[in-house]
Symmetry: C2
Subunit: 457 residues, 2 copies
């Protein structure tokens, strides 16, 4: 696919240079909006408006939605008012709101001026909800039906009003005050007798969210209940919007990416990697590196305290990286497993006892396995093969430390994310780097304590 | 939510004990299949069949699909042939295939015996595709239309045959030999003039996958093109199935979880955490811990080689954890960012030069910032506050090492995942633990090299 894109880019460039606009248009209309947007992302700024104007109206709007906000802004600044209106008229209101959110104030004003009054009202409605809330990702274009409508009337209404709706496949039944009474699907309506009323046809086991619910709740509802659309209600249970499955998928990917970034000690951003400037990447990474570096110096302090012991038995130093790394890896395994389960809603704080009991046994098994492997390795490789002077006692110190470190690392790894969530923090922050820093200090403390006891340093 | 579940569990237990089956049924029918399955997961094995039999036929089948395979097996073993047939008849064929895949041979035989011949054929069709391929997650229940059909005829056909289809909202137009010609939506059909033919109404810019394509390709197509359903074709472009959006969402979550697990050095499994036995968790974690532990001993070898130098200047030892951790964290940041971008299809191997150029500048900035911070910290805290004997030269060694380590860590972190993908390996394996192990060795080599040069050890 990547190679094809490269070939296509060259073709398009040549066609632009030779001013073969008819051919260009013929090629573009066969393509998907997302692919056109990818192609445009690599086009020279001055050629972009020209290429964009080749697209037929609807494809132009669909492509516009898929482009990144820098390019959108560039195009809008070049648009005449008529051109801008043409694009805005074709947009779904939730996409329009997403675009408006990213634009500077003067561009926002121009967009809102071109939108018809109904759309302007809806955009403003969506914009008032907090970032990452259900309200901010919903659309206000959905089909509502009344309880007394028959299937025949419902189909007529959908035919008449459905053109601009983001989905017509799930319909919502409301009373005169917009209270949500139930839902039904176009499939049920189409399969039903013509004179069956919505009140008989509708399901009342409604899954809904409120406008201020976090988008992660929205995404989890879609995956748990296999939804096509999810109604968003206000505090009085009045229907104010719906979230469609394509937007829920975007949220899912965004949330998974955010979790992964947090786990790797990166401040999440919603820009794709190649679009971020070097400074932006630096800003997203450096605070955590600094914080973790400072924490790691405490580990250094522990080593300093045992400087004399280390100087007396330098062979102990050689095992420090292995002990710290294995402890860190063991802790990360536990923390990442728990963080993911928390994110997907498979676990919550009430499970903490079961989790700790399970991890204790797993960590005991892992600790013993690793200690045994290390003991064999020291005897076979270090002592017999390399003729290093490692006494049985030193080997014992290393293996006991390893088993204890793995045990505590896993307990810390599984319990910190759950505690974080309980206290209202994001558990994803309690992942590898954080756990590693704690476990490093822990492993050294255990190491020197065991060494002091067994070797009498 | 979790607390409500606990209350509900107690209520249900009490009702079962008091044999209030009518009340129980009234409660269960108001619930969603996924929630009933969660509830059943905590119910005693001997009470499960009794509770399951309370569910009306359709809800029973929907709940059955959501249950885990151990409980499904338990129920099937207790079912009479008639009961089993009732459940199987209500299943969609892709769900039935998923269930059959997890069952032991004798249970599979019983299920296939109860399925009607048409369904048995379809299940067998799906079962022949490799795990995690598009063929293995598709359904064979979809709506096909012919090019000459009018909108009116199409709606009649959908009304007549749509009941058992997994979706009727995207319809596929095929020729007499099942070759895929185009697609259309129920919305377009419903909005069109009654006598408009499918050949005029259909889109021909088809996005499709072949049966053997990996499910990750399927998931990425859904998110890139905002699809509701994706057609699956064989090598001759004959339509053999479709993947619906709810299954694509499951794949997305599964793939994200797999990536996260691999990044934390865990062998992925598709069982939820609480359902895995201690042995299974141990098996998924221990191979990586062992492998990484053995690699980490090489780091120990480097320390051993410089034992005399360390004994002469023990103060150097205290900075080892900080240098290793910061290097590891820097490398993980880069590798995790790149791995995620590769998974989402935002990056591929052709971008490697851009990525390396970007990461070089980011790592230079990060390295210099961290080195400067460390220099200030050594002077203010270690020297002035703690009166440690750290010479300017030692501080210089630490800071130069830090800057170099961060620089190389990020380059290794960003390039290894891309190389891995190029060579056909899974880039997710090239994440934190693996990078950390490499970077540990790297940072020590740099450290001792710089120390030898500057301190003349």
């Amino acid at each position: 696919m990547a190679e094809n894109t490269a070939i296509l880019e060259t073709t398009i460039e040549t066609l632009v240079e030779n001013k073969k606009y008819a051919t260009l248009r013929d090629i573009l209309v066969t393509m998907q909006p997302a692919d056109i947007a990818s192609l445009f992302a690599d086009v020279d700024e001055d050629k972009l408006p020209l290429l964009f104007r080749l697209l037929p109206k609807e494809l132009a709007a669909d492509t516009f939605v898929e482009m990144d906000s820098d390019q959108q802004e560039l195009l809008i600044r070049g648009f005449s008012d008529v051109e801008l209106k043409e694009v805005v008229d074709e947009l779904y209101v939730d996409d329009a709101a997403d675009i408006v959110e990213e634009m500077p104030a003067n561009v926002v004003k121009r967009i809102l001026r071109q939108a018809d009054p109904e759309m302007r009202k809806m955009i403003n409605e969506i914009l008032k909800y907090p970032d990452d809330s259900a309200g901010s990702i919903m659309t206000t274009e959905y089909v509502t039906l009344r309880p007394h409508m028959t299937a025949e009337e419902a189909i007529k209404r959908i035919r008449r009003t459905g053109v601009d709706k983001e989905t017509i496949y799930t319909c919502y039944i409301t009373d005169d005050n917009r209270h949500l009474l139930g839902y039904t699907t176009l499939k049920s309506i189409l399969m039903a007798d013509e004179d069956m009323e919505m009140s008989e046809l509708m399901g009342t086991d409604i899954i809904s969210v409120t406008t201020t619910d976090d988008q992660e709740i929205v995404a989890n509802a879609f995956s748990r209940y296999d939804l096509q659309a999810l109604p968003v209600v206000d505090k009085e249970n009045r229907l104010v919007g719906i979230v469609t499955v394509d937007d829920a998928i975007d949220v899912m990917e965004e949330e998974a990416t955010e979790d992964i970034e947090k786990m790797a000690a990166i401040t999440p951003t919603d820009k794709p990697y190649l679009k971020m400037s070097v400074w932006e990447i630096w800003k997203s990474r450096i605070p955590w590196l600094l914080l973790l570096m400072i924490s790691a110096t405490f580990t250094g302090l522990i080593i300093s305290r045992f400087e004399t012991a280390l100087a007396a038995s330098v062979v102990l130093t050689a095992f420090i990286p292995m002990l710290m790394d294995t402890g860190g890896n063991s802790g990360s395994q536990a923390s990442v497993t728990i963080i993911r389960a928390l994110s997907l809603g498979d676990l919550d704080f009430s499970d903490i006892a079961r989790v700790i009991w399970k991890e204790s046994r797993v960590s005991l098994l892992c600790g013993v396995t690793l200690a045994a492997a290390t003991f064999v390795k020291i005897q076979l490789v270090d002592v017999m093969l390399l003729h290093n002077d490692i006494s049985m006692l030193v080997a014992a110190v290393v293996c006991i430390t390893l088993a204890l470190t793995v045990f505590f690392a896993k307990l810390v790894g599984c319990s910190l994310p759950m505690l974080a969530q309980r206290l209202g923090f994001d558990p994803a922050v309690m992942a590898s780097p954080f756990i590693t820093t704690i476990v490093d200090a822990l492993s050294l403390l255990i190491y020197f304590r065991v060494a002091t006891a067994l070797l009498g340093l």
